[in-house]
Amino acid sequence: MTPGILAIIVLVLTVAGYFLGRQRALALAKREGVRLHSLPSHYGQAVALFTAVPALLLMGAWLFLQPLLLENQVSSQIPDSVIPEGGARSLVMADVRRIADGMDRLVGSGGLNEDDLSSMRADFSNIRGRLAEVGVALGSDVEPAVFEAAKSYRSIAGTSTLLRNIAVIAVALGFGFLAWRQVRPAMRARNVSETFIRSLLIGSSLVAILTTFGIVTSLLFETIHFFRLYPASEFFFSTVWNPQFRGGSDLGVLPLLWGTFYVSFVALLLAVPIGLMIAIYLAEYSGKALRSFAKPAIEILAGIPTIVYGLFALITVGPFLRDWIAQPLGLGSSSSSVLTAGLVMGIMLIPFVSSLSDDVINAVPQAMRDGSYGLGATQSETIRKVIMPAALPGIVGAILLAASRAIGETMIVVMGAGAAARLGLNPLEAMTTVTVKIVSQLTGDTEFASPETLVAFALGLTLFVFTLGLNILALYIVRKYREQYE
């Protein structure tokens, strides 16, 4: 029985529990002639929740823990002798799992029965060939020890799955029955479902928080690993970025940070004024009809995948800047440049700035405008002297959010800015950014043991610290702004 079918059984029990609980509540209320504390459906929900939640939690935990325990038990059966030179136990275990999976398929396709399988031995029969027939390809012939391990993997997994199915259904029935017995008119069934909804919501927010926490910790550990292999002072203060995969590389972050900030700066230089002016126009001048059309239309820009922007930079903007500006002025001959990436990224950021600023400007109370117009101010005076100062903190927040987006942007800079780590001021030269280098250090066949690959995590963490800082700053400013009218 697969987990899917098991889940469906639990759901069927849940639905049954709902109707039984509801019915019992109504019947008892009628017999005792008292009013129900909650609506009849609340009693049904309570029974249904008690049926479903513990059973599904148990199932989830089992699905999560079973492979771990199984792996442990079986991997101790594999003798060191079958582990190939320079390989890892985990690779052998992967074979074990695939063989066990293949055996399941063999049985399923009717080619073999269980007795045949248990008497089958790796040294006498062509296991590899038979598995290939059912679509499980193995890299080499199967070692007897590995085959035995696969057999025991399979049998332990089978028992465990059976146990799981019994346990889950038993829990569903047991808790459901107990809850059903508890149903009486005085039971506070409404509170049960309210509590459940609250814990569901708390649980959902925990998922987001824990994921962030997990990402940061994994980055942190790999970064610490990196700094054991490579001096931190070199990383932070060296101005040379020159990774050599044979060792002895210079991994200074400064040229990359410079590129990142230069490109982001160019992007913001384009996006902030245009975005702000769009926001002011939409919020203060445009009519309702135009605004309801123009705002979503501009937001489409934010929905274009960044790889498409990258193509635009690579094929259109880059060559245009090279042929019409860089070469005539003698400032460079590369089609990828800071300006290319910056301009295209700026276009991408326009809706971030305009949409958020528009919301902020709209949030300035009409009373402020009335007050200003009432004193004889013109529309532009009102915007300049009353609306903008009042909205400024929120606008700064919008700009900082756009900036953190720019710093983390990858595809546009990969395709538009080039790959040369360089500390320079010429915006028509190729430069590179932190994100581009993370990609290039991790592309290809890599193992996470050398400083050249681990540096990607240190770069990632650096980037994360910058964007997190900007986000916190933005949130702080936006929050402070909110207090102004309260």
Binding site: G287, G376, Y485
Partner: protein
Amino acid sequence: MNMLTDAAVEEKLQSASKPGVSKMVGKDVTVHYGEKQALFGVNLEVPEKQVMALIGPSGCGKSTFLRCLNRMNDTIDICRVGGSIMLDGEDIYDPRIDVVELRARVGMVFQKPNPFPKSIYENIAYGPRIHGLASKKSEFDEVVETSLQKAGLFNEVKDRLHEPGTGLSGGQQQRLCIARAIAVSPEVILMDEPCSALDPIATAKVEELIDELRENYTIVIVTHSMQQAARVSQRTAMFHLGNLVEEGPTDKMFTNPDDKRTQDYITGRFG
């Protein structure tokens, strides 16, 4: 001799209850909000240097009429104003009239205190700055001080002129808004229920202030409080369903109104 004096007194009383010189005159004023008509040909004269109260049940058009007097309705897209409104004999809806200048002459104080999120000083200096009424810092200082003094707020805030105006209490904020309006030296001040968000003590202070301001300014005030209308105004206009029901000296309106609807509204029988 005595008789003559009495007659003179009588005449004086008579003239006080007459409209006097009209500062603003509305003729057949109609207002449409989109399809909906809010005012049906209102004829009303606002006497100079007096307080005129506009009363009437909610939705009767009194605020709409008030907002016509300095063209604040222009900021509402769907609003159309018909008829004519004269300020010192000039039609303020004439295309040649500059609305910026008009609003400098006809200031407005709103229902909810709406100080800008700037310092107290900057709140007052805002109007003179946009109209170029002062240029040197000393001139601004003087405008700020006199405006605050006229609004009876100076002593309360003189030590914190550079703190945000939003930090004041509700009543102080409303007097700050009045001071802000005074700072551009308007001729008329329109007040749209200026005390509806204030407690009784702050209300008393604002009413006292309105009474003092009458000396220099023409004031039109919309109010829902009958007592307030009786306390601060010399003339009262009663609106109902977009029409002007009647207009007259406040004493007469409150003691012996011509129209039954006024009588009923004032005594609380409807509204």
